[in-house]
Subunit: 396 residues, 4 copies
């Protein structure tokens, strides 16, 4: 029966029945005239979720990693310089991808638990008088540490330095769960996926691309075919796809967008904040510490939590799975063994969150953590109670 | 999102994805030769769940109420006497059905919260020298009060009185969740349904019928057609159905039986006991009282819980639904307003149960119940922790 | 792979993916306030399909046979007289049901292949000066013979005889496929099911009941509980059900009604006529004969077709199933061995019908029928071609 | 209703209900210990379908195009020479991909409708004394022309030239439908996808890679990250994935393999031959010509058919879709306007094929093709009849 428990990993997320059914569709001819009537509204709706009117939505049947690859191969050339700060596993991996593709990656090393260092970006960009830096790459929500970076701040720093570099943002684990303002923040490429805030199966990389980034394609010489923006845009223009489209996910996206708009994006963000805050109250009650260094960095989709000195976070997540059949996120990279993660995004309610908190508490007690059984749940209950009126309204 | 929360009503129960998919099947020709190869094993497997080797399994596309009706119309005649004790809503309704069908119902009134009164049965049956009483009707698990009656005890009483009456048992909300011994307890007709322990959609009445009850058909003159045992058995014998069969539920039953046997019936019963005991620990921690009068009567599938004097249980369940999107059972009949019910049967884990307890606690706190927030959850956590080793084994 | 072929039985019918998904829903609390918002529109929409504004829709978790039983037990008393014509298997079974329930059934025997004998009804009713006949029972579409009876004609006969008997109509295999006018024809109870024109799983009996029939409940003494109209109406009035409702079928009905109204009832009827006519052209091309005696009796949902002298229709349907994996209807009752049936109702297109015709042709050729391979398909193609403009419009 | 018709495009193919349900699964934690128990057997089973024991199965959440890209970026370096024959749209596209990735593509132009020119390959390879050619790329089944090439012949040519080049084969539209012998033919990389013979949703590129091709990774300098074999193999080795895996497709593959093995690969191939031969008999009866130049080139998964001089194949497929709601493949590239295609692969029966033939016949008649209505269907019926005994056995 344990497969009936929700997962508390930071994606892929629990899939609502409604979306499973939306993806449960028979093959249709993607070359038939009516495919466009399904696909076009999906592109339009997705743009709204990115907070853009000028951007171009481009999707690939791939994971978010594929989206990263598409962002650089379509706009950059071998030897181009990009600026990235490393403060977690996913910023690390994007750096690695750039290096493998022959880019010159200028790395600012930051402590895990911190966010994008706007001031340091400004300093580096100001010093780059020749504008060798072609793009700044930022992970909006660092899934490994539960840190949300201030993209508006990064944009401000770039503007202060009067630097023409493009701004690429990984919003895989934030889009459709936390506010994103593609146009407002001056983002040039934002990369997301189907399996987090959109609550779908894994398999679709979802990008929003600015006119400036589209212009960059003209000179970009990194090789690409599967991930080529031009092929995709040309085919999309007539309602088609350059190769077989992931039909089931496209139908799923259509229904996911309906769900998000029915709830209202503002309400979706408010719900995620509320669930996250409930988890944070529990962490405080346990006497544990978040990896995220300060409240303005707290992510509303995932919390990374240090285990006390002398404990192994891997043993904790393994035990929670073995004894109670519930999955939590393990500590990744530097955090391996030191922190575990609670994913609280997508199709989730306060009631479901409480079951996750209750479970990890039992697991901690089983392993003799200095944590009082029930304390975290009670703290979260108290918080959820005090806010349920809002929640009830939002869910309506 | 609140439709993602589990329900805590005592049926219909949460349907596991695996069973939803098993029922998601296209039409097949039920007159085609291969229908029998699907249907026959379902009948065989169901018999095992009843704990019978000699009984005959008979199913109808109906609810449990239809099963009750079938039990009396196939075996009794207008004016026949039956003996029933009333100790809850479901025993009450069966009595009502008998009366509407022109039976002479000899009723033993019992307090709600008590179980089948074996001693009183024995007294009445001993006094019935002419054997006018044709059947004793017992509700195994009274869903309105959370009381499990001792069917073995009833059988013993009947034997002690050397009375030839048939024994009919309603096990709608106990079968496939708590032990049932059709042969061992000398049951003549047991009535259940698809939507409780079998974790399926509503729509199939499931009966097990003894040879003695089958013999009674010969003289029974109550009219029946849709619920006629003979038509059904004759058609079933050649793998057919006297009318269009509920194909989707038959496939669902096949998969449900697989799930039950994979977990092992003993483990299924142990899981239900464990979940129920967790709930009972919470009730105790809250300082509340179960409707069931004594521990040997405690049901492992549903707990009916008195609210404190001066509170309205309907306001509580309504508030839990409105504020948190979780359904609990209301108080039925005499218990309306006085007690609420937590269903803990079917596709359910300790983790899910904790979310239910956490929710009703919040609701009670919201309504100023003299209950300490977190107390029930903590008590259940403590119990589940202490027993998880067993549980983990059972779930494997 | 043969389970991917459509079925050509006259119900249960092929279920469109959309309806399978609509029934693929998790348990909800049927006592929760929002159940009514789902259920009430289903009752309203269903009434439209019956062509009624004054009727009351009553559903039971049962098959059509249960609907028949409900129609008589709620309105009649033991010994009451009903008038029925027997002209096929389903009129025969309804007669049998009435007899088992102690009614005095006045039977008019008709040839199988004929329809309801309005003139004979008029004669009998005119002769019944004492108005002993309480109800006239008519099978609208006799599934065994492929005959549609003229209900308006029966009503006219009843009116001509100035007889106050109620008019009960079995429209299980016609509703939502052929025009039905409950109010227009003065029907008192019409009985249908979920698994034919509604294209759903089996499991819901669907009735429409006139005010006059509702009044008859007051004096009706046949016993009923599961099928009691009053219990159902009382519960429905507050959005509830007297026992656990078949939630999945109720959601399915909601979506089925959407599909029917999106296509438009007139277009649904036109499509069924067109598919039926294609089949009839094929039958003519084969040189075979329909069981239905004359064109005005031809059913648009099922065609019963005589096999040539010396051939066994059972061997034909068995061979079609074994060799090609396609199910056709066998000959029932008097027609067993003499006729086979092609069901052409529900979720079906001309393209699918052609595959059925092609299959039965192959089967006939295999068994040395004096039928020219391809002749029926070609005749149907010719007809479908000449009408596709209309069809394309209707399907849009 | 027209969405109930099967599609006759050469992929994505009709998805059997069983596989739709297999993909209808809730999120599980892919980092949890039990993911490996699901994934490992999928890799093993897939290897059998490729006809390999020494190959390594590598999958990506992508389409077949992604598989092509992976094959070259993991084994080759910019400037490397590859040898390819162009004889259709898909060989053309692979060439284009190679060129975009900076390879030196030596192209042998062939007539569309011909297959891989083994003799010409031998000549070129024999002349390449310096072994500059690193790989020979062959499209096994050219979906645009309905041509199956002789891979064994290509291998023989390579061996005759004693050339060490690797052999890459695109088997996207042949694998799991027509025999493939990875080991037997000395293939180094074979590229397929989930949406053709495996009858699943689009979204998984499936490759089989020889030890020799794996060795080539060491020196290959084309950039790759998303499609990197090493990352994938390293993660797979411990049951994991380098990024979020397409869980639903992995479950789907598990069930697809079960279906294929239950039917038996030999029977699957025989069924495809039989369906294809039925189509070819129809084409002959119509007096039309296949694009494939000679019988040994005939594909068993798709037939490309020339329309008569003066007709436009696009008008034909559009009309078939508009008037009858059935999708056929359009003519691609050189064949656009000149030929249409009937896909006959995956989840398909003779009965379904007949409906496709009947439909395109009606469409041709509507557009005044010099084709006799019914002729093709009859020819196919005759063929299917004469072979059904075998088919029945295979389907059992």
């Amino acid at each position: 029966m344990s497969d009936q428990n929700p997962v508390f990993i930071p994606g892929p997320t629990n899939i609502p029945e409604r979306l499973l059914s939306a993806m449960h569709v028979q093959t249709r001819d993607h070359r038939a005239p009516d495919f466009v009537s399904t696909f076009a509204p999906v592109l339009e709706g997705t743009k709204k979720v990115f907070g853009s009117t000028n951007g171009k939505i481009i999707t690939f049947p791939a994971s978010g990693t594929g989206g990263w690859e598409a962002s650089v191969t379509n706009t950059l050339s071998p030897g181009d310089t990009v600026l990235v700060a490393r403060y977690g596993m996913f910023s690390h991996r994007w750096i690695d991808l750039c290096q493998r593709h022959g880019l010159d990656v200028q790395i600012i090393e930051c402590a895990w638990g911190s966010g994008a260092p706007a001031e340091k970006f400004e300093a580096v960009l100001s010093a780059d008088k020749d504008h060798k830096i072609k793009a700044v790459l930022v992970t909006h929500n660092e899934t490994a540490t539960g840190v949300r970076s201030d993209i508006a701040g990064v944009r401000k720093a770039m503007d202060a330095a009067s630097h023409p570099a493009m701004l690429f943002v990984d919003c895989v684990s934030s889009l459709a769960s936390m506010e994103f303002r593609f146009d407002g923040w001056g983002v040039d490429i934002a990369v997301s996926g189907s399996q987090k805030g959109f609550m779908l199966a894994t398999g679709m990389a979802i990008l929003c691309v600015s006119p400036k980034a589209l212009d960059a394609m003209a000179t970009a010489t990194l090789p690409r075919t599967f991930f080529d923006f031009r092929d995709m845009m040309a085919a999309n223009a007539s309602g088609g796809f350059p190769y077989t489209p992931p039909l089931q996910l496209i139908y799923g996206m259509g229904e996911s967008l309906k769900m998000l708009f029915e709830e209202g994006l503002e309400n979706v963000y408010a719900r995620h904040f509320r669930l996250a805050e409930g988890v944070r109250r529990a962490v405080q009650a346990w006497g544990l510490k978040l990896v995220a260094q300060s409240p303005e960095l707290y992510s509303d989709t995932v919390s990374a939590i240090y285990v006390p000195e002398g404990f192994d976070s891997n043993a904790l997540t393994e035990h929670a799975f073995d004894a109670y059949g519930v999955s939590f996120g393990i500590g990744l990279g530097e955090m391996n063994g030191k922190a575990f993660r609670i994913g609280h995004l997508g199709s989730l309610t306060d009631v479901m969150v409480l079951s996750g908190l209750a479970t990890i508490e039992m697991a901690m007690a089983d392993l003799d953590y200095p944590v009082q059984l029930g304390s975290g749940v009670t703290a979260a209950q108290e918080y959820f109670r005090s806010t349920h009126a809002t929640a009830a309204k939002a869910a309506a």
